[in-house]
């Protein structure tokens, strides 16, 4: 039998070239992440070298005397994001439950599209709305919060404070609104992955809609729901503009959530272009590095949890 003619030389070159180019660009995604990490570490090195581990636990922030510590912005970032999660998780659960189990078929698509639109609104708009509309309205209710919740023993101190309207709690509420679409859409997607057979068996023995969610759907989708919550947390931690408008930008830690605070992202947005000394600038970049590491860990965890359901799903089909 005759051998088929080999393709011309040029054509043989094109294939590896095409594959090589696409591969290089795919690896670039990985290189980019490593580069972000190294560049921030390099630029923040001056601050880490000057203050050592003390940087992480120091409350100092004194540009005039070149003394910096990360504790207050880290605290504010974590606390505002935790408030956001505490509010966003039950609300997202309700929305996902409504869309998957309660809404009539014609209403599902419009409602989930509208909730997802909330995620498309630029964060600076949330900031302006928060500062000029929500905060003045909310400050009218803060004396009530202070009077009623403030007298609860133990947690009361969290809610005793001045009715400024802006502060840690306001930032947390606005962050919650911003991350609800992310958490709700993941919950909705994974709820739909629950095998109908399981649900129908539960209904068959007389379970109510709520009991099916609690005892069948949630246990089945547990890890992915946790993944969605971590994804929302990752988003909240790095959110910049909305928080900068409403957190109050006060360099202090206080027990009360009604008091103004600070976050890493807000510190960067407010101070970076005005940082006059190299150590000041380096300290801010070091803050950015810490933010990057925290969100990286949270997001990796989120992805791993989400992958587990995907894998289980892949094996069963």
């Amino acid at each position: 039998m005759e051998k088929p003619p080999s393709p011309p030389r040029l054509t043989r070159l094109w294939d590896p070239l095409f594959k090589g180019t696409t591969a290089a660009l795919a690896y670039m995604v990985l290189i980019l992440l490593v580069a972000v990490c190294l560049a921030l570490l390099h630029q923040g090195a001056l601050a880490f070298r000057t203050f050592g581990w003390h940087f992480l636990v120091s409350k100092a922030w004194d540009p005039a005397n070149n003394h910096f510590g990360a504790l207050i912005p880290i605290y504010g970032t974590l606390v505002s994001s935790l408030i956001a999660i505490v509010i966003a998780v039950p609300v997202s659960l309700g929305i996902a439950l409504f869309i998957t189990e309660l809404a009539p078929r014609w209403l599902r698509q419009p409602v989930s599209a509208a909730i997802e639109l909330l995620a498309a609104i630029p964060s600076i708009i949330f900031g302006m709305w928060g500062l000029f509309t929500f905060a003045p309205w909310f400050s009218g209710y803060e004396p009530w919060i202070s009077d009623h919740l403030g007298s609860i023993p133990g947690v009361g101190a969290l809610f005793r404070g001045p009715p400024f309207g802006i502060g840690m709690l306001t930032a947390g509420i606005i962050l919650a609104i911003m991350i609800i679409p992310f958490i709700a859409s993941i919950m909705r997607e994974v709820f739909l992955l629950t095998p109908p057979l399981l649900k129908e068996s539960a209904y068959g023995v007389g379970a109510t809609t709520w009991e099916v969610l609690r005892n069948v759907v949630l246990p089945y989708t547990r890890t992915a729901v946790a993944g969605g919550i971590f994804l929302g947390l990752g988003r909240a931690l790095g959110e910049t503009m909305a928080v900068t408008f409403v957190i109050g930008n006060a360099h202090s830690i206080s027990a009360s959530l009604l008091n103004p605070g600070y976050s890493i992202a807000a510190a960067l947005a407010n101070e970076f272009t005005e940082a006059f000394s190299p150590l000041y600038k380096s300290s801010l970049i070091a803050l950015g590095f810490i933010l990057f590491i925290i969100t990286f860990i949270i997001l990796v965890l989120a992805k791993l949890l989400l992958l587990r359901l995907e894998r289980a799903q892949g094996e069963s089909t």
Binding site: P7, T11, W14, D15, K19, T22, A23, L25, A26, Y27, M28, V29, L30, L32, A39, L40, H42, Q43, L93, G94, L97, E101, L102, V111, A113, A114, I115, L117, L118, A120, I121, P122, S123, I124, I125, G127, M128, W129, T133, A184, T208, T209, W210, E211, G238, E239, T240, M241, F245, A265, L268, A269, F272, T273, G288, L291, T295, F296, A302, L307
Partner: protein
């Protein structure tokens, strides 16, 4: 027995009621925010917004330089981020498939997708602005490109994997080299899906403020020079909204209205494209 039944019924009705209430709450927030933007922005919408540059405090003016600067930087981001993202997505879908390296790149691409955009701004500051010594429109465009890239990688990968492999096999059976199969067959089949991904990404970067703060900075004046600081809508809104001058605050609201509805319009349009495709 009866009491327990009643309690179960009550819990069920109560929790389902809460589910309805939370959904209403979510929609209420959306409407409240849109209403606020529309109410404050509407009064300040006028032709001067698009024909005059950002004014000094107290003087009349518009946001022309900011709109143009934003468009230029979004253009740079599309020019850099789209080809890079489409090719990287091609590798994932066409060459890596289910192999380990593909899964690793997908994993970290999703991390990049959710990484804080202010960190991207700091990164571009560290590797471009601090090297060239000045803030520039180009570095702003690059920062936006890095935010856009993972969105494009992900949708390209997903859309290409939806193309039935029989189409590729048919083309290869005719003796076509693989690169031509990809460029002429699978890209064509996935074209509208990839375009949707790019549009969604553009909608996202159009409202991004944080990556521009330390890269493009801002510019009070008309400038189309990519190597100089460049005016842009989000940072201008940020500065004007927090300023004590009423004229500036009004401009900020007008800019916010235009930006919000442009971004929402773009994302509704791209969702509409997806649905057209699916039906």
């Amino acid at each position: 027995m009866d009491l327990r039944y009643l309690r179960r019924r009550f819990t069920n009705v109560f929790n389902l009621g809460m589910a309805v209430a939370t959904t209403v709450l979510g929609l209420f927030w959306l409407l409240w925010i849109l209403y606020t933007t529309a109410r404050f922005g509407y009064h300040n919408l006028n032709l001067a917004l698009f024909t005059q540059d950002t004014p000094a405090p107290g003087a009349p003016g518009g946001l022309r330089n900011a709109f143009v600067g934003s468009l230029i930087m979004i253009g740079v981001a599309i020019a850099v981020g789209t080809p890079a993202g489409v090719l990287a997505g091609t590798y994932l879908a066409e060459f890596a498939g289910r192999r380990r390296i593909g899964e690793i790149v997908r994993f970290f691409n999703d991390i990049l997708l959710s990484a804080p955009s202010i960190v991207v701004g700091l990164f571009v500051y560290s590797v471009v602005v601090s090297v060239t010594g000045n803030f520039s429109g180009l570095s702003g465009g690059l920062a936006l490109a890095i935010v856009l890239l993972p969105v494009v990688v992900r949708t390209t990968d997903e859309m290409l994997r939806l193309v039935p492999s029989t189409m590729r096999e048919a083309a290869m059976a005719l003796g076509s080299p693989y690169w031509r199969v990809v460029v002429q067959i699978t890209y064509r089949a996935a074209r509208s899906g990839i375009l949707t991904g790019v549009l969604l990404g553009v909608a996202r970067i159009s409202g991004e403020t944080a990556p521009l703060l330390f890269t493009a900075l801002n510019n009070q004046f008309w400038s189309t020079n990519l190597s100089k600081p460049m005016a842009n809508v989000p940072v201008t809104i940020f500065q004007f909204a927090l300023s004590p001058y009423q004229g500036w605050q009004h401009l900020a609201w007008a800019g916010a209205l235009v930006a919000t509805f442009a971004v929402l319009g773009l994302s509704i349009f791209s969702r509409f494209l997806i649905r057209q495709r699916n039906s």
